[in-house]
Amino acid sequence: MSGSERMPEVMQEPQAPVLPGVVAVAFSTAYLIALLAVEMQPLVIGLLAFGIVAVLAAHYMDWLDPVSRSFAEREGVLSAYAILAACVVAAFFHDNHFVLLLFVTVLLYAVATLGLNIEFGYAGVLNFAGASFFGIGAYTSAVLNTYTAVPHLLVLLIGGTLAALIGSLLLLPVLRTRGHYAALVTIAFALLLKTFLEVNDVLGGPQGMQVKGMSILGWSFNDNFEIGRIEMSFYLNYFVISMLLLCSTFVLVRRLERSWIGLNLDAIRLDETAASCFGLDIARWKITAFVLGNFVIGLAGALFGMVGGFVAPNNYTFADSLIMVSILLLGGIGNPWGVVVATFIVLVLPEKLQTIQEYRFLLYALIVIVVLLFRPEGLLPRPVRRYFPRGRA
């Protein structure tokens, strides 16, 4: 079903019902809680098999179609439900450090991949150094929290800014090159940065650095706290701030895509020559996307450094950048919802399936190969742009 065929019909018919979307969110939430809660390997495998079968069955019963329609048309309401669902999951695991850490990691990786999505998905600027910019953010918070008393919220912004600034050093080669040549620039940068971090003694060398946890206005994020009489994991603090970050990034990316800036970026990605014939300043928009994307990635990295409490060069290698690209591709390049879903799949799966932990890189790579061969547009392909959102036409 392509969006262009559906468009006229959509404009005449009444708004798609919100119910299918809500049901889908509720089911996914319950499933996620179950998956995160079970520990025994046979149960995990059984649940995963059940999940795959359920999705396939829904696909063949044509139940997925109404879901995607209600997501497409009632995004605002359903986003609220999705946020609520995330809070329910977090509340369910309120005293479980491990699950909450995993959850926060997923949220922050989703933020970073959304940043990558601005570059890759909209402007078509290749960036194979996502993890490097993530690392720049994390190292910024490590250094600033250790040696200075800069307020920690500001540290996040500085982390993003620094990632954007260091990324700007690559602007000239990135703008002048295209295709394979452009890919090389960021790949070379990824290797360069990792080597640099490894040999630089000030930044801890291969052993890395400790990062002090976040504290805002005297509220230390690394202490457990109590609500009523219920003991809460300190990761719940990080969950709240990561969720805020994810929501604002999501809104930003969505607005950006919908706006004329997104239109310009799309035009540039699809055909540079045609875009510049219509008077678009290619360099300007590519710079905007690259700098903005790196800023978002750096921001997420800075927070991730504080969450993990530790940074080391080995966490920000070229292979990790490839994982980010895999997430993007698996979800469907250019679709923020796809990014979020794919981040869950890619990060939660190996954590739950301890038996495949060792094989995770192999597995990611195989999944991406299969996706590229058989479903190159990703699990949730980006829908066709809608020029007349309901109520504004």
Binding site: R178, A183, L184, L192, V325, E358, L362, Y364, V368
Partner: protein, 306 residues
């Protein structure tokens, strides 16, 4: 710095340059026929080196002890196996994606590289640890004043030169070479001239991957050690070399390979910071070169490709 040490550095640089060139030539060949980057090339090299090592261990265990025979067997098996692997990759991963965006081919081969690398790590016995590679070449050395010329290095260098010259002859003097060049220039015209496009692509991938196998064995012989991750860096360096030279040109690949080795050697020896920064320096120069000459030092004739 005395002459002996200087020539030692130059010799090391030349050896590195030769290995990089062998990898870079592969990139250039693939780009020539299909306009794609096959990023798993470095990991094909790793697999080649490990295949060679496994052959050596297998033959030793059945009692073969003649060193020349072992060397020959290692090379032949590695080359044949990698040529076959290269053809399989081309047939099942690269050709099916011909109509997809270039990014998809880049990604699929990047991921294939990860698959190969991880398979060596996980499934080769203790593949996560570095493996000693046997010294199959004579290790005598000739003293030229202060300079100590190792025989095995000289032999490897000579082999490398012979291979490049041979490849050059193959491309310029044979019917197969003509077909490869024809496909590189214009696929459709080549087809109408009765050239079997798929066959030419497969053979080109076989040749390129065989070169990687030689590079892998050479790497093992030079360092006397191989590990599962060596292909990643070598692949990226070979790619950088092919690109700073200019994709699609064999001379560009050679120039790029030796230039990168020179940069690394320079970074390790002559610059006023710790030698650990040599890769940082080399890659910085690569990025700077890309900014200066976006299509490489020897530029492609058709600018649209960029």
């Amino acid at each position: 710095m005395d002459v002996g040490l200087l020539s030692q550095y130059i010799m090391n640089g030349l050896m590195l340059g030769m290995m990089y060139t062998l990898v870079a030539v592969g990139f250039t060949l693939f780009f020539g026929v299909l306009d794609i980057i096959k990023f798993s090339h470095g990991d094909v090299l790793t697999v080649g080196a490990f295949t060679g090592l496994a052959t050596y261990i297998g033959l030793r265990s059945v009692g073969v002890s003649s060193t020349p025979l072992l060397l020959l067997a290692v090379l032949v098996v590695a080359i044949l196996a990698m040529a076959a692997l290269g053809m399989l990759i081309a047939r099942y991963l690269v050709l099916p994606l011909r109509s997809a965006p270039a990014l998809n081919t880049l990604l699929i081969t990047l991921m294939l590289g990860t698959v190969l690398r991880e398979m060596v790590r996980l499934f080769y016995p203790q593949g996560a640890n570095p493996k000693p590679f046997p010294a199959l070449l004579p290790t005598d050395s000739i003293n030229l004043g202060q300079f100590n010329l190792r025989l095995d290095n000289a032999m490897m260098l000579a082999t490398g030169v012979a291979i490049i010259v041979g490849l050059r002859l193959l491309l310029n003097r044979t019917k197969l070479g003509l077909a490869i060049r024809a496909v590189a220039q214009d696929e459709e015209t080549a087809r109408t001239m009765g050239i079997n496009f798929t066959a030419v692509v497969l053979i080109t991938f076989a040749i390129g991957s065989a070169l990687a196998a030689i590079g892998g064995v050479m790497n093992g012989l030079y360092y006397n050690e191989i590990n599962f991750g060596m292909g990643l860096l070598l692949g990226v360096i070979g790619f950088s070399a092919a690109i700073i030279g200019g994709l699609g040109s064999i001379y560009g690949a050679i120039l790029g390979g030796f230039l990168f080795a020179a940069l690394q050697t320079l970074g390790a020896v002559a610059l006023p910071f710790a030698s650990a920064y040599k890769d940082v320096f080399a890659f910085t120069v690569v990025i700077a070169l890309m900014a200066w000459r976006p299509t490489g030092l020897i530029q492609e004739k058709i600018s649209e490709r960029v």
